[in-house]
């Protein structure tokens, strides 16, 4: 998994009632865009060190900008 600053990571819920969460990559700590990432959660604004698993999908910044345009 590779990410850049500004990319959005979406984490799917594990239970039926668990909401989808998302966060923004604000620092990339691994080599070549690899994890871990320092992320900022959109719902709380807090920052955590994040190691993406199979429940996480990265939306790259250029894709997001294209979608917004």
């Amino acid at each position: 998994m590779h990410a850049h600053i500004g990319d959005r990571i979406v984490i799917n819920g594990h239970r039926v009632d668990e909401p989808v969460r998302d966060c923004e990559v604000i620092e990339v700590h691994g080599p070549d865009g690899g994890p871990p990432y320092l992320v900022r959660w959109s719902d709380s604004g807090h920052e955590t060190l994040f190691f993406p698993g199979s429940d996480a999908a990265i939306e790259h910044l250029e894709h997001l900008e294209h979608t917004r345009a």
Binding site: W41, T48, F50, F51, G53, S54
Partner: protein, 147 residues
């Protein structure tokens, strides 16, 4: 199956120098019960909600104590490409419910016995569906040929 393929949830990390209070807040905000304590991406230990109960709350330790003073270390860990049977063996041998998954010493995620049990149950249920369907809908069998 490789252990890394059994990781269901993204991992959350904290630094060893962070306080117990900060770690508890991270657990509460992210909804996880175990944090990887990492130096860069190198796994130093694991801090669980049970560690907070036993080593902080029960002993009267200050919430301003460092995470590395109360974490479980060394963490029981497994290589990312190890067969999942090795993970089961480690759960059994060490009596833990979580394993740190590492690649070249770098933390990549956490595999839990809970997740493996869910997968195991699913693996058992899927092959048994034709059998349970046969039992539940026996009348669908074609009639015996009349001699």
């Amino acid at each position: 199956m490789r252990t890394i393929d059994a990781i269901r949830r993204s991992g959350i990390g904290v630094g060893p120098e962070q306080t117990v209070r900060e770690a508890a807040q991270v657990m509460e905000r992210t909804g996880v019960g175990a944090l990887a304590v990492v130096d860069g991406a190198r796994l130093r230990g694991i801090l669980t909600d049970r560690d907070l109960l036993r080593r902080v709350l029960a002993t009267g330790t200050s919430p301003d104590a460092r995470v590395d003073d109360v974490m479980t270390s060394p963490a029981v860990s497994i290589e990312a490409d190890a067969d999942l049977h090795e993970a089961f063996a480690l759960f059994w041998t060490h009596g833990v419910r979580r394993l740190g998954v590492v690649r070249d010493g770098q933390f990549v995620g956490m595999v839990t016995v809970d997740d493996l049990l869910v997968d195991l149950a699913r693996d058992l249920v899927d092959p048994s569906r034709p059998i349970t369907a046969e039992i539940a809908h026996a009348h669908r069998d074609s009639a015996l040929p009349v001699a």
